[in-house]
Symmetry: C2
Subunit: 292 residues, 2 copies
C-alpha cells in the first residue's frame, strides 16, 4: 500500500477490520470481513496475517481485540485500570519483534467486582487522544456487550460492561417474546415507553409484561421489539446512574447511537455522538507512534 | 377409577398431570407425562381427553392451564383481578355440558401494566381455600415464569410474572456465560454472593461481571451457574420489594423452594414452603364442588 506506514487490525470475535494507515494517521485503505477469531482455526493466525500483508503490503501490524484472548492468536494479558496509551504501548505482546504485535486488553478489579475489555480500549483512549472526547468524561460503546468507561486524566479509570445487546438478541431469537419481536426497533412511542418503564427497575417482570400487554390488548404486537429495546437500553442507562447533568460520549453506529441518546436524554442526561472508527484509528496510530 | 368423582387435568405448555379425585378430595390416581399442548395437534384435544378417560374412567373432567390458551383446546377468556374460586366456577368454558370444562386464566390490568396467568390461579386459590396459606398474603410460584400473587380476602388481588427461570435457561444454553454455567446450582456461598449483589439492582452489568470474575481469577468456573442463579433469583425478590417483615408463601418444588427461601431470607423476609400439588388438588376440588 503506497504511502502506508503500518497496518492496524481490529480483530473481534465475529468481524475483522483492517486499516492501512499513513504516518500522519490518514487511512489509505480499509476492509471489513467476517474473519473474526471464531472463523479461524488454532494455528492459522500467522497465515491470516500473511494474507492481510499480501493484500495491503509488507508492513508492521498492530492487532487489537479478541485476537489477544485465549481463543485468539496469542493471549495478551490484561492491563489493570487506570491505564493509558503509554501503558498499552509498554505491554504489547510482540509476535515478531518490530513487526507484529497484539495490544493487551484492559481489566478492572476492585473489592466488589471485576470486568474486562479487549479492543474497546483503543477506541476509548483514541477518542480522548484525538480530542473528540474529553479526558475526564463518561464514554459509552453500545453493542452486544455495552461498555461504560469513566475516563480520568486521559486514562481509563474504571469501566463496566453490560449484557444489553446480547440479552436483546436471546430474547428475540429464543424467548417467549420471540414471536412478538418482529417489528422495527426505532426511537418512537413504544421505545420511549420501555425506557420510562425501566426507571422502575423491575426488568424481570417488565419483560413478561410485554407479552401480557399484547394478550390483553394494551399494545400492538408490532411495537414489542421497540418496547423491549427501550426496557433494556433504559435499564442499562439506569444502572449507570445517568441522571440530570450526566454527559455521555457515545461511540456508536447511528442506529444504536440514536436509541442510547434518546434513553440518556429521557433520564435527564446529555449525549454526544462520536465516530468510533475515527476513535480507533486515532488510538492505534498513537500506539504505533509510541513503539515505532 | 373406582370411587373417583371427577378428573382434573393440569395441562401446561410442556407437561400434563392428570388426577382422579374422590368426592372428599382424595387423589385416587395420578399420572404425569409430556403431553403438554405443544405436543398435541390442533383438533386432537378431544381424542386426548378420550384417551385420558379410557385410562381413568368415564368421569367429568376439569382442565386448567395453557389448554385454555389460543394454542390449546378452546380459548377460555381471562377473568380480571380480583378473582376467587366462585368467579372461576361461573366462568368455566364448557366443551360438553356437565362433562368437560376449561378453567379460565386470570389477568391483571391497571393504568401502568398488564399481566396474565393460566393454571397458577387454581394453585393459588386452592392453597388459600385449603388453609395452607392465609387469605391475605404474598404467594410465590417460582419457575420458568415466576408468579408473585397478592391475595386479599381469599381472592387474587393482583399479581406479577417475572421471566426469571426463562432467562436463566437462555443464559445457560445460548449466552457468553453458557460455557461457564456447567456447575451445580445449590444454595451456598456463590449463590448467596449472587443474591447479595442483586441488591445493587445492576443485573445487566452483573451478568457480564460473572464472566469477568472467572477471567480475572476472582471466581471458579464451577461456581458461575449458582452465582448467576443467585443474581436472577435475588433480582426477582428485590423487584417484589421483599424486605424486613415480608412473609412469602412459596408454592415450589424443593430445589427452587430452597433457593427462593434463601433469597427471601437474605432480603430480610420469611418464607413458608407450601406443597403445590396439594394446593392444585384443593383448588380444583373446590371448583368441582361449586359446579357439580
Amino acid at each position: 500500500m503506497s504511502g502506508a506506514e503500518f497496518l492496524a487490525v481490529d480483530w473481534g470475535t465475529t468481524n475483522r477490520r483492517v486499516y492501512a494507515i499513513a504516518a500522519d494517521g490518514r487511512v489509505l485503505a480499509t476492509e471489513r470481513d467476517d474473519r473474526g477469531i471464531m472463523a479461524i482455526g488454532r494455528g492459522q493466525f500467522a497465515d491470516e496475517a500473511a494474507a492481510i500483508r499480501a493484500r495491503f503490503g509488507e508492513l508492521p501490524m498492530l492487532c487489537a481485540g479478541m485476537v489477544g484472548s485465549v481463543g485468539g492468536w496469542v493471549e495478551a494479558a490484561y492491563r489493570p485500570c487506570p491505564t493509558g496509551l503509554d501503558d498499552l504501548a509498554d505491554a504489547l505482546t510482540w509476535i515478531e519483534p518490530e513487526r507484529t504485535a497484539i495490544v493487551p486488553g484492559v481489566c478492572f478489579v476492585d473489592a466488589t467486582r471485576a470486568d474486562v475489555m479487549r479492543g474497546e480500549e483503543v477506541q476509548l483512549l483514541g477518542a480522548v487522544a484525538a480530542g473528540i472526547a474529553p479526558g475526564d468524561a463518561l464514554l459509552c460503546q453500545p453493542g452486544t456487550h455495552c461498555k461504560w468507561a469513566q475516563m480520568a486524566g486521559g486514562r481509563i479509570a474504571s469501566f463496566r460492561t453490560t449484557m444489553t445487546g446480547e440479552l436483546f438478541s436471546h430474547l428475540k431469537k429464543h424467548s417467549l417474546l420471540a414471536d412478538f419481536m418482529t417489528g422495527e426497533v426505532a426511537d418512537g412511542a413504544a421505545f420511549r415507553d420501555g425506557v420510562a418503564t425501566a426507571a422502575n427497575r423491575t426488568l424481570l417482570g417488565d419483560l413478561f409484561g410485554a407479552r401480557a400487554s399484547v394478550l390483553t390488548g394494551r399494545r400492538d404486537r408490532g411495537e414489542i421489539a421497540a418496547y423491549v429495546s427501550g426496557l433494556l437500553i433504559g435499564s442499562d442507562v439506569r444502572e449507570q446512574a445517568v441522571g440530570a447533568g450526566t454527559e455521555v460520549y457515545l461511540l456508536a453506529d447511528p442506529a444504536l447511537g440514536t436509541l442510547y441518546s434518546a434513553a440518556i436524554e429521557a433520564s435527564g442526561g446529555t449525549a454526544v455522538l462520536v465516530d468510533s472508527h475515527d476513535a480507533f484509528v486515532a488510538g492505534i496510530t498513537r500506539l504505533w507512534r509510541l513503539v515505532r
